[in-house]
């Protein structure tokens, strides 16, 4: 592998600014790698670099999950129903990153409309995990995670609704940050579940995540749920964790975890203590109900958001007759199985006679889950769990069992339900496959999370990755 490809994104940005590295050479390196990608991680690769010449991220190419609208660029959210769609506008987060200098390298594969935990629900075929090509990269930001892990992109952005940044980051051995709800504008993100969706970075290390996140945050008049980030996003520097209190919730660290994942997790806890951190058991008693609440709320919102795909204004159309047939044929032909399943689930949960029993109750569970975190953060600074109960599973292993697939999100859904930020960092390997460690904190505690993650990252010293052999 070339020295250039060994540079982290932050190092590359710094060396480009210092004139030590040529932005053109870096672009050519990643442009060639992305174009040669054989993991199916990319759905589209740019011909030419387009970022600002003089920003702090100048010249460091960015892979963008397909659901971010980029003007004039195919943006299908991994769905056949949007095939051919080239939006007339650009998502705020992409616009900001371009303005900071990062050129868009390509659009990455994903589960259709971000609905999935394995990337097998893409309308454009599954993505392979670069650690083991018979395994899934996780989802729904599977293309972004695989591209970064494989070294075909220096960094990427994705979105997280129930774990869609953190889980693929964990399964691909990279870093993924899901920000506080509202920290990053959702304008131009093709919507899945609007009260949960958040954009964030997928990167090789914690410093890169902080740098990318720094240029994504901020209130946006085009997204009325976005908020001003209350402080500057700092680049992490902590070497110790003295006095930092880490809560270990038995509900998210016990049942259903593979032995290899448990071992890596326990080693991470020991490292936290070595660094001076304090471990304390905290209860999140309602978090085991997170999957139930999530798989009512997210499909309910999705069923409304996806009603716009009717064959009238954009995307594809199929028809064999009158107007109603056109709606039904278009949606039958354009949506994949999982999207149909979630539209059905959400429509059912919102339908007359069932609304209170499902949607109403799920919203109350959501309150209890948020209350649990509030009480926990009165006692501890951060919460630590494994990101996923298992390492990357085999392609096809869970496709026939939707509930088993849903349960793989058990440790990542409680945080978006509460709107709080969480990061996944590589903790080590189990049977040669990466294991993610998740740190969560209160709303807008990203600086604290990034600092702790950085200290832990240095102590763990995880230096492996397919990108080293790219």
């Amino acid at each position: 592998m070339s020295d250039l490809g060994y540079l982290s994104a932050a190092q590359a940005a710094e060396q480009i600014r210092a004139g030590e590295v040529s932005a053109d050479e870096l672009w050519t390196l990643y442009r060639e790698r992305a174009a040669a990608d054989d993991l199916n991680a990319f759905l589209w690769v740019a011909d030419e670099a387009d970022g600002a010449d003089d920003g702090p991220l100048a010249g460091v190419p960015l892979a963008v999950k397909d659901l971010f609208c980029v003007e004039g660029v195919p943006s299908y959210a991994g769905s056949r129903i949007l095939e051919g769609y080239r939006p007339p506008y650009t998502a705020t987060s992409v616009r900001k990153l371009r303005a900071a200098g990062a050129p868009v390298l390509g659009k990455t594969n994903m589960d259709e409309f971000a609905m999935g935990s394995s990337n097998e629900n893409s309308g454009f075929g599954p993505v392979e995990n670069p650690w083991d090509r018979e395994r899934v990269p996780g989802g729904s930001s599977g293309g972004s995670a695989a591209a970064v892990a494989a070294g075909s992109a220096p960094w990427a952005i994705g979105t997280d609704t129930g774990g869609s940044i953190r889980q693929p980051a964990a399964l691909c051995g990279i870093v993924g940050l899901k920000p506080t709800y509202g920290a990053v504008s959702r304008y131009g993100m093709i919507a899945f579940a609007s009260s949960l969706d958040q954009a964030g970075p997928l990167t090789r290390d914690v410093t890169d995540a902080a740098l990318l996140f720094r240029h994504m945050v901020g209130r946006d008049p085009c997204d009325s749920t976005s908020l001003e980030f209350p402080e500057e996003v700092a680049l992490p520097s902590a070497e110790r964790l003295d006095g930092v209190r880490f809560g270990v919730p038995p509900e998210l660290t016990g049942e259903g975890i593979e032995d290899g994942v448990k071992t890596v997790f326990d080693e991470a806890l020991a490292k936290i203590e070595d660094l001076g951190g304090e471990l304390e058991e905290v209860a999140l008693p309602h978090s085991p109900h997170g999957i139930s609440a999530y798989y009512v709320i997210a499909p309910a919102e999705a069923s409304a958001n996806l009603s716009r795909y009717d064959g009238v204004r954009f995307g594809t159309r199929a028809t064999d007759g009158d107007l109603l047939s056109m709606y039904e044929e278009t949606r039958e032909a354009g949506f994949g199985d999982e999207v149909k399943r979630r539209i059905m689930l959400g429509t059912y949960a919102l339908s007359s006679g069932y609304y209170e029993a499902y949607y109403g109750r799920a919203q109350r569970v959501r309150t209890k889950i948020a209350d649990d975190f509030r009480e926990a953060f009165a006692k501890v600074d951060l919460i630590v769990t494994p990101t996923s109960p298992t390492v990357a599973f085999k392609l096809g292993e869970r496709t026939d069992d939707p509930l088993a697939m849903y349960l793989s999100d058990a440790f990542t859904v409680p945080m978006p339900l509460a709107g709080i930020p969480a990061i996944s960092i590589p903790g080590g390997l189990a049977d040669g496959l990466p294991v993610g460690i998740q740190l969560a904190g209160p709303a807008f505690s990203e600086n604290r999370i990034l600092d702790a993650a950085y200290a832990l990252e240095q102590a763990i010293g995880f230096e492996e990755g397919p990108w080293r052999d790219a």
Binding site: Y85, P88, T180, G182, S195, P221, S224, T225, L227, H286, H289, I291, S292, A293, Y295, V296, D310, G311, V312, R313, F314, T316, R317, T319, D322, L323, L324, S325, M326, Y327, E328, E329, R331, E332, F335, K340, I343, M344, L345, T347, Y348, S351, Y358, G360, R361, A362, Q363, R364, V365, R366, T367, K368, A370, P402, L403, Y406, L417, A418, G419, A443
Partner: protein, 94 residues
């Protein structure tokens, strides 16, 4: 348990046309998922307020100032079928 008739009713509401095979599969899969979801019925929730939005925000208002809208031609170019400055669709029928 969600039966075949319910699946067909919900599919109509959602404007999804499902094949016979999909209806059967959907009935069984949705039943399994709903069985799991119904575990939340064990919780005492009557006194709990529902959460629809996690971060405290006030209504966000802006000045009502006129501004350019998207050029009509640019938007119509994205449509599967545009005619006479609008989106053309099949007749609603009888």
């Amino acid at each position: 348990m969600i039966d075949r008739e319910q699946v067909l009713h919900v599919a109509r509401l959602a404007r999804l046309r499902l094949s016979d095979e999909e209806v059967e599969r959907m009935s069984s899969e949705l039943s399994t998922i709903l069985d799991h979801i119904e575990k939340i019925n064990e919780l005492e929730l009557d006194s709990v307020e529902p959460t629809s939005h996690v971060v405290e925000v006030e209504n966000v208002l802006r000045a009502d100032e006129p501004r350019e809208s998207w050029p009509r031609e640019q938007i119509l170019e994205l449509a599967p079928d545009a005619a006479d400055g609008g989106f053309r669709v099949p007749s609603p029928g009888a």
